[in-house]
């Protein structure tokens, strides 16, 4: 039972994380390979504030703000870049963030990480039970997903699709597309920040090693697998990815095989990514009927 709750919590967190990437990648065609940076900043932001006494709710709101602000800061310079260059630049940027988190020990405690991150309080007591945390995550996720849906379905979201389909046409019709892209990244970043905060308060201990490029790959896989540009796609993708990830972890492997979990996950995810690109690049849930 606990296992199911754990998987549900992780899947929901990743759903928010994947949906926030989908807004950029699926709707606007922005290949943000550094998206883990926003997740990390949300996690660290909320963790550091709440470890120093602030209530968790404040921490989570701050996580959204910090991540969103960073989105704004990096978006302007990087969003002038096209397609794959933006992908690589955002990737480099995420690594820069991780190195900063690793080295600025006065702030982040460096490689030791931040332990004892508090759970949110629930009727006066910390929500230590999985059920309580799940409910909190459901509520927070639903709120953020609702925001993402509204943005995606709005005329703003519609124009993001124009940008994705044909940037020259987008530019030719009276809009400053950099402004659209920046706002898109900001919203995505803020949502990812909340996902990071939810994750940090779930696992209660974070360190820079939790925010490597592997995490970006996982969330990228979620979006690509489930179907970009749709609302349901990232949900399906996130659930699938988390299920596989947790399933491999819970396989009845002999103890000395424990070290094989990570590489097996890597092989499976990598193989699926390649297969999807060859066989069904639009993902399981296609945005258009072909």
């Amino acid at each position: 039972m606990d296992y199911i709750l754990h998987v549900l919590i992780m899947a929901l967190i990743y759903t928010v994380f994947a949906s926030s990437l989908n807004l950029q990648l699926g709707l606007a065609g922005l290949y943000n390979f550094g998206h883990v940076a926003f997740f990390a900043l949300g996690a660290y932001g909320s963790a550091l504030l709440t470890v120093n006494g602030l209530p968790v709710a404040v921490g989570w709101i701050a996580a959204i703000a910090i991540a969103g602000l960073l989105g704004l800061v990096i978006a302007y310079p990087l969003l002038r870049l096209t397609g794959d260059y933006f992908g690589v630049a955002s990737l480099a940027f995420a690594e820069i963030i991780r190195i900063l988190l690793l080295n600025e020990r006065w702030l982040t405690k460096g490689p030791m990480g931040v332990p004892a991150i508090p759970r949110p309080t629930w009727l006066g007591m910390p929500a230590t039970s999985l059920v309580q945390y799940l409910i909190i995550v459901i509520v927070a996720s639903a709120a953020v997903l609702a925001v993402l849906v509204v943005v995606g379905r709005s005329p703003f979201g519609r124009f993001l699709k124009v940008i994705r389909e044909d940037e020259e046409v987008a530019r030719a019709f009276g809009r400053d597309i950099v402004s659209y892209k920046v706002r898109c990244v900001m919203v995505g970043a803020g949502a990812a920040g909340l996902a990071g905060a939810m994750w940090a308060h779930y696992v209660t201990y974070i360190s820079p090693a939790d925010f490597t490029i592997e995490v970006t790959i996982l969330v990228l896989l979620s979006v690509v697998l489930g179907g970009r540009g749709t609302f349901a796609g990232p949900i399906l993708g996130a659930f699938l990815v988390i299920l596989v990830q947790e399933a491999v972890r819970f396989l009845p492997l002999p103890p000395e095989w424990g070290r094989l979990v990570v590489p097996i996950q890597g092989i499976i995810f990598g193989g699926v990514l390649v297969a999807m690109m060859i066989l069904r690049p639009q993902g399981f849930i296609p945005e258009h009927r072909e």
Partner: protein, 289 residues
């Protein structure tokens, strides 16, 4: 004196980065996509030697190296055949994502076989030379020497052989791939195996100098990409210079900033070059030169 030592370290490291960068820049120049899995050629080169050194092979170092190089070239060709050729003609981003997948598979297999701990060859190649009070280890000399030798060989290939001229022609105009009569299969073979060989050599040198860990490919990939960007996509000799600049910059940089930020220099170079001068410092037309 201290700075000269750093300079030597930087040049040696830079030579290795240049070796890493060649395959990346050739594939980008000719096939027009960023091969994220290229980093794993570095790792597999290094680990391949480990594989052949250990039982059940137990081979001498020189033989293990040769076999490791062959193995890595084989892996590169296999990944091209299985993952990239089916995607020929698709958007560069699709290929980039596929290459990310390939890198995960290759790294996963590596970690599956060898585990995640730091390893070393257990072979001591100590020994250093001293000129005018400056010290360079044999391995550093090998790094620089091999790098320059390989690049000289590459130069000969590109300038004076028919194959090399074909390579440069195809890099200039990818549509030539559709024209019959060009030895395209051979071009493909050469580009992918050469790139892997260069990278694997660099990986082996790196492992001899330091140690092996499964992420060594990934960590050096971005540095290789920084060298590619400095040199201009497709420009292999630009990549050589780019690698040297990164190596020297990193090592001299440690005199100013804390060592923990050493890696950040390469990443910062990537971002800055992409923002301000994506065509490279030397701004030649695309192609393989």
């Amino acid at each position: 004196m201290y700075y000269l030592e750093l300079l030597i370290n930087g040049i040696a490291a830079g030579g290795t980065y240049a070796l890493f960068a060649v395959g990346l820049t050739m594939v980008y120049g000719i096939f027009r996509f960023i091969n994220f899995a290229h980093g794993e050629m570095i790792a597999w080169g290094a680990y391949g030697v480990l594989l052949f050194l250990a039982p059940p092979f137990g081979l001498p170092l020189w033989l293990a190296i040769i076999l490791a190089l062959a193995l890595t070239a084989g892996i590169a060709l296999a990944s091209e055949r299985i993952a990239f050729r089916p995607l020929a003609g698709r958007a560069p981003l699709v290929l980039l994502i596929a290459s990310i997948g390939v890198s995960f598979v290759l790294r996963g297999i590596l970690q599956f076989i060898f585990g995640a701990d730091l390893q070393s060859y257990g072979v001591e190649i100590s020994g250093r030379i001293e000129i005018f009070g400056l010290v360079a280890t044999y391995i550093q000399l090998a790094m620089l020497g091999l790098s320059l030798t390989f690049f000289a060989g590459l130069y000969v290939l590109l300038r004076f052989t028919l194959l090399g001229k074909t390579l440069r022609a195809v890099a200039d105009n990818a549509e030539l791939f559709g024209i019959m009569g060009l030895p395209l299969a051979r071009v493909r073979l050469v580009v992918w195996s050469l790139g892997a060989l260069f990278a694997a050599t660099g990986g082996i040198l790196l492992a001899l100098d330091t140690n092996l860990e499964p992420y060594m490919g990934l960590t050096n990939l971005l540095k290789a990409f920084a060298a590619v960007l400095l040199g201009g996509a497709g420009n292999v000799f630009g990549a050589l210079l780019g690698g040297l600049i990164i190596g020297v910059g990193e090592n001299l940089g440690t005199a100013i900033i804390s060592p923990g930020y050493k890696d950040l220099i390469a990443f910062a170079v990537v971002v800055i070059m992409l923002l301000f001068r994506p065509q490279g410092l030397f701004a030649v037309k695309s192609g393989v030169r």
